[in-house]
Symmetry: C2
Subunit: 135 residues, 2 copies
Protein backbone atom coordinates (compact mmCIF):
# COMPACT_ATOMS: atom_id res chain seq x y z
CA UNK A 1 0.00 0.00 0.00
CA UNK A 2 1.34 3.42 -0.90
CA UNK A 3 1.50 5.92 1.93
CA UNK A 4 -0.81 8.76 0.92
CA UNK A 5 -0.12 10.91 3.98
CA UNK A 6 3.62 10.67 3.58
CA UNK A 7 3.38 11.48 -0.13
CA UNK A 8 1.20 14.51 0.56
CA UNK A 9 3.60 15.65 3.29
CA UNK A 10 6.51 15.56 0.84
CA UNK A 11 4.76 17.50 -1.91
CA UNK A 12 4.84 21.25 -2.45
CA UNK A 13 1.39 22.24 -3.59
CA UNK A 14 1.10 25.50 -5.54
CA UNK A 15 -1.01 28.55 -4.68
CA UNK A 16 -4.07 26.66 -5.96
CA UNK A 17 -3.18 23.63 -3.76
CA UNK A 18 -2.24 21.56 -6.81
CA UNK A 19 0.67 19.57 -8.16
CA UNK A 20 1.07 18.59 -11.79
CA UNK A 21 0.56 14.92 -12.60
CA UNK A 22 1.86 13.20 -15.72
CA UNK A 23 0.14 9.92 -16.60
CA UNK A 24 2.51 7.53 -18.31
CA UNK A 25 1.72 4.10 -19.74
CA UNK A 26 3.24 1.60 -17.32
CA UNK A 27 4.14 -0.90 -20.05
CA UNK A 28 5.21 1.27 -22.99
CA UNK A 29 6.38 4.51 -21.34
CA UNK A 30 4.12 6.57 -23.60
CA UNK A 31 3.05 9.85 -22.01
CA UNK A 32 -0.75 9.78 -22.01
CA UNK A 33 -1.86 13.07 -20.47
CA UNK A 34 -1.09 15.82 -18.03
CA UNK A 35 -3.47 16.83 -15.26
CA UNK A 36 -3.57 18.24 -11.73
CA UNK A 37 -4.02 16.78 -8.29
CA UNK A 38 -4.75 18.19 -4.86
CA UNK A 39 -4.25 16.33 -1.59
CA UNK A 40 -7.74 14.85 -1.63
CA UNK A 41 -7.38 13.55 -5.19
CA UNK A 42 -4.08 11.90 -4.21
CA UNK A 43 -5.76 10.19 -1.24
CA UNK A 44 -8.60 8.96 -3.43
CA UNK A 45 -6.19 7.80 -6.14
CA UNK A 46 -4.26 5.68 -3.66
CA UNK A 47 -7.45 4.37 -2.03
CA UNK A 48 -9.07 3.44 -5.35
CA UNK A 49 -5.89 2.35 -7.14
CA UNK A 50 -7.18 4.47 -10.03
CA UNK A 51 -6.33 8.01 -11.08
CA UNK A 52 -8.52 10.70 -9.51
CA UNK A 53 -7.53 14.18 -10.67
CA UNK A 54 -8.67 17.67 -9.80
CA UNK A 55 -10.49 19.17 -12.77
CA UNK A 56 -9.59 22.86 -12.92
CA UNK A 57 -12.33 23.59 -15.45
CA UNK A 58 -15.07 21.78 -13.52
CA UNK A 59 -13.62 22.63 -10.08
CA UNK A 60 -14.24 19.17 -8.71
CA UNK A 61 -12.62 15.79 -8.23
CA UNK A 62 -12.54 13.87 -11.47
CA UNK A 63 -12.25 10.10 -11.37
CA UNK A 64 -10.65 9.64 -14.77
CA UNK A 65 -12.90 7.41 -16.90
CA UNK A 66 -16.01 8.07 -14.80
CA UNK A 67 -17.91 8.87 -17.97
CA UNK A 68 -15.99 7.03 -20.71
CA UNK A 69 -15.07 3.97 -18.66
CA UNK A 70 -11.43 4.52 -19.58
CA UNK A 71 -10.07 4.40 -16.05
CA UNK A 72 -6.36 4.41 -15.25
CA UNK A 73 -5.11 1.70 -12.90
CA UNK A 74 -2.19 3.21 -11.01
CA UNK A 75 0.82 0.93 -10.69
CA UNK A 76 3.42 3.39 -9.41
CA UNK A 77 3.70 7.02 -8.31
CA UNK A 78 7.00 8.87 -8.77
CA UNK A 79 7.86 12.23 -7.20
CA UNK A 80 10.19 14.84 -8.66
CA UNK A 81 13.15 16.53 -6.97
CA UNK A 82 11.31 19.64 -5.83
CA UNK A 83 8.02 17.91 -5.01
CA UNK A 84 5.72 19.89 -7.28
CA UNK A 85 5.17 17.20 -9.91
CA UNK A 86 4.39 13.51 -9.90
CA UNK A 87 4.31 10.74 -12.49
CA UNK A 88 1.52 8.18 -12.37
CA UNK A 89 2.49 4.96 -14.11
CA UNK A 90 -0.82 3.54 -15.23
CA UNK A 91 -2.58 0.81 -17.13
CA UNK A 92 -4.98 2.67 -19.40
CA UNK A 93 -8.27 0.83 -19.76
CA UNK A 94 -10.12 1.17 -23.06
CA UNK A 95 -6.91 1.89 -24.90
CA UNK A 96 -7.29 5.66 -24.96
CA UNK A 97 -6.69 8.42 -22.40
CA UNK A 98 -7.71 11.46 -24.44
CA UNK A 99 -11.25 12.81 -24.72
CA UNK A 100 -10.59 13.19 -28.47
CA UNK A 101 -10.45 9.39 -28.72
CA UNK A 102 -6.70 9.24 -29.20
CA UNK A 103 -4.55 6.97 -27.08
CA UNK A 104 -2.54 9.91 -25.78
CA UNK A 105 -3.44 13.59 -25.49
CA UNK A 106 -0.06 14.17 -27.15
CA UNK A 107 -1.18 12.86 -30.54
CA UNK A 108 0.24 15.71 -32.65
CA UNK A 109 3.79 16.69 -33.41
CA UNK A 110 5.22 19.84 -34.92
CA UNK A 111 7.25 19.49 -38.09
CA UNK A 112 7.86 21.51 -41.24
CA UNK A 113 4.22 21.13 -42.29
CA UNK A 114 2.87 22.46 -38.99
CA UNK A 115 1.03 20.13 -36.62
CA UNK A 116 0.67 16.54 -37.83
CA UNK A 117 -1.34 13.77 -36.18
CA UNK A 118 0.93 10.87 -35.30
CA UNK A 119 -1.62 8.38 -34.00
CA UNK A 120 -5.15 7.36 -34.97
CA UNK A 121 -8.35 7.63 -32.97
CA UNK A 122 -9.17 4.59 -30.85
CA UNK A 123 -12.78 5.61 -30.20
CA UNK A 124 -15.35 8.09 -31.47
CA UNK A 125 -15.93 10.67 -28.73
CA UNK A 126 -19.46 11.39 -29.96
CA UNK A 127 -20.42 7.83 -29.12
CA UNK A 128 -18.48 7.49 -25.87
CA UNK A 129 -19.59 10.82 -24.38
CA UNK A 130 -23.31 10.97 -24.85
CA UNK A 131 -23.46 14.54 -23.62
CA UNK A 132 -20.30 15.59 -25.50
CA UNK A 133 -17.14 17.06 -23.96
CA UNK A 134 -15.43 15.85 -20.81
CA UNK A 135 -12.75 13.22 -20.38
CA UNK B 1 12.83 22.29 -39.55
CA UNK B 2 10.02 22.57 -37.00
CA UNK B 3 7.72 25.54 -37.46
CA UNK B 4 8.10 27.61 -34.31
CA UNK B 5 5.54 30.25 -35.30
CA UNK B 6 2.90 27.67 -36.13
CA UNK B 7 3.54 25.81 -32.87
CA UNK B 8 3.27 29.01 -30.83
CA UNK B 9 0.08 29.94 -32.67
CA UNK B 10 -1.50 26.61 -31.71
CA UNK B 11 -0.59 26.78 -28.02
CA UNK B 12 -2.70 28.21 -25.24
CA UNK B 13 -0.33 29.97 -22.88
CA UNK B 14 -1.53 30.48 -19.31
CA UNK B 15 -1.89 33.75 -17.41
CA UNK B 16 1.90 33.78 -16.93
CA UNK B 17 2.43 33.21 -20.70
CA UNK B 18 3.69 29.67 -20.09
CA UNK B 19 2.96 26.13 -21.16
CA UNK B 20 4.15 23.05 -19.28
CA UNK B 21 6.89 21.04 -20.95
CA UNK B 22 7.68 17.42 -20.15
CA UNK B 23 11.14 16.26 -21.21
CA UNK B 24 11.14 12.59 -22.14
CA UNK B 25 14.12 10.46 -23.13
CA UNK B 26 13.80 9.91 -26.88
CA UNK B 27 15.25 6.41 -26.77
CA UNK B 28 13.91 4.94 -23.52
CA UNK B 29 10.70 6.89 -22.90
CA UNK B 30 11.81 7.76 -19.37
CA UNK B 31 10.31 11.03 -18.12
CA UNK B 32 13.28 13.19 -17.20
CA UNK B 33 11.82 16.44 -15.90
CA UNK B 34 9.00 18.93 -16.05
CA UNK B 35 9.56 22.61 -16.78
CA UNK B 36 7.90 25.64 -18.36
CA UNK B 37 8.25 27.43 -21.67
CA UNK B 38 7.11 30.76 -23.04
CA UNK B 39 6.97 31.67 -26.72
CA UNK B 40 10.54 32.97 -26.77
CA UNK B 41 11.90 29.81 -25.15
CA UNK B 42 10.09 27.72 -27.76
CA UNK B 43 11.62 29.78 -30.57
CA UNK B 44 15.10 29.42 -29.07
CA UNK B 45 14.60 25.69 -28.50
CA UNK B 46 13.73 25.14 -32.14
CA UNK B 47 16.52 27.42 -33.35
CA UNK B 48 19.15 25.76 -31.16
CA UNK B 49 17.79 22.21 -31.39
CA UNK B 50 18.29 22.14 -27.61
CA UNK B 51 15.83 22.68 -24.78
CA UNK B 52 15.56 26.29 -23.60
CA UNK B 53 13.05 26.66 -20.75
CA UNK B 54 11.68 29.60 -18.82
CA UNK B 55 12.96 29.48 -15.27
CA UNK B 56 10.16 30.67 -13.00
CA UNK B 57 12.49 30.98 -10.00
CA UNK B 58 15.17 32.94 -11.87
CA UNK B 59 12.69 34.73 -14.15
CA UNK B 60 14.83 34.30 -17.23
CA UNK B 61 15.43 32.00 -20.19
CA UNK B 62 17.32 28.93 -19.11
CA UNK B 63 19.26 26.97 -21.72
CA UNK B 64 19.16 23.61 -19.96
CA UNK B 65 22.75 22.46 -19.32
CA UNK B 66 24.21 25.96 -19.61
CA UNK B 67 26.03 25.39 -16.32
CA UNK B 68 26.29 21.60 -16.05
CA UNK B 69 26.88 20.90 -19.75
CA UNK B 70 23.96 18.44 -19.62
CA UNK B 71 22.10 19.88 -22.60
CA UNK B 72 19.03 18.23 -24.11
CA UNK B 73 19.04 17.71 -27.87
CA UNK B 74 15.44 17.98 -28.99
CA UNK B 75 14.36 15.31 -31.47
CA UNK B 76 10.61 15.82 -31.46
CA UNK B 77 7.99 18.13 -29.96
CA UNK B 78 4.47 16.81 -29.27
CA UNK B 79 1.45 18.97 -28.43
CA UNK B 80 -1.50 17.94 -26.28
CA UNK B 81 -5.19 18.12 -27.15
CA UNK B 82 -5.87 21.45 -25.50
CA UNK B 83 -2.55 23.06 -26.37
CA UNK B 84 -1.36 23.90 -22.87
CA UNK B 85 1.31 21.21 -22.58
CA UNK B 86 4.07 19.87 -24.78
CA UNK B 87 6.40 16.89 -24.69
CA UNK B 88 10.02 17.34 -25.73
CA UNK B 89 11.59 14.08 -26.82
CA UNK B 90 15.26 14.59 -26.09
CA UNK B 91 18.69 13.06 -26.06
CA UNK B 92 20.02 13.90 -22.61
CA UNK B 93 23.74 14.69 -22.71
CA UNK B 94 25.80 13.81 -19.64
CA UNK B 95 23.36 11.06 -18.69
CA UNK B 96 21.47 13.11 -16.09
CA UNK B 97 18.76 15.74 -16.30
CA UNK B 98 18.30 16.50 -12.61
CA UNK B 99 20.31 19.04 -10.62
CA UNK B 100 20.54 16.42 -7.86
CA UNK B 101 22.71 14.32 -10.17
CA UNK B 102 20.02 11.75 -10.88
CA UNK B 103 19.16 10.75 -14.43
CA UNK B 104 15.54 11.86 -13.97
CA UNK B 105 14.03 14.37 -11.56
CA UNK B 106 11.49 11.60 -10.84
CA UNK B 107 14.00 9.42 -8.98
CA UNK B 108 11.76 8.62 -5.98
CA UNK B 109 8.65 6.52 -5.70
CA UNK B 110 6.08 6.22 -2.96
CA UNK B 111 5.55 2.82 -1.41
CA UNK B 112 4.70 1.42 1.99
CA UNK B 113 8.00 2.68 3.42
CA UNK B 114 7.41 6.25 2.24
CA UNK B 115 9.61 7.74 -0.48
CA UNK B 116 12.28 5.42 -1.84
CA UNK B 117 15.03 6.31 -4.31
CA UNK B 118 14.74 4.14 -7.40
CA UNK B 119 17.84 5.26 -9.31
CA UNK B 120 21.40 6.19 -8.35
CA UNK B 121 23.19 9.49 -8.80
CA UNK B 122 25.05 9.85 -12.09
CA UNK B 123 27.09 12.87 -10.98
CA UNK B 124 27.95 14.77 -7.81
CA UNK B 125 26.19 18.14 -7.95
CA UNK B 126 28.82 19.76 -5.73
CA UNK B 127 31.41 19.12 -8.41
CA UNK B 128 29.27 19.91 -11.45
CA UNK B 129 27.81 23.15 -10.07
CA UNK B 130 30.77 25.09 -8.74
CA UNK B 131 28.51 27.72 -7.27
CA UNK B 132 25.94 25.20 -6.04
CA UNK B 133 22.27 25.08 -7.00
CA UNK B 134 20.78 25.50 -10.45
CA UNK B 135 20.18 22.93 -13.14
Amino acid sequence: MMQADELIRQLKFDDKDLVTAVAQDFATGEILMLAFMNAESIRRTIDAGQAVYWSRSRKRLWHKGEESGNVQNVKEILVDCDGDAIVLKVEQEGGAACHTGHRSCFYRKIDNDGLTEISPRIFDPEIVYKKGGGH
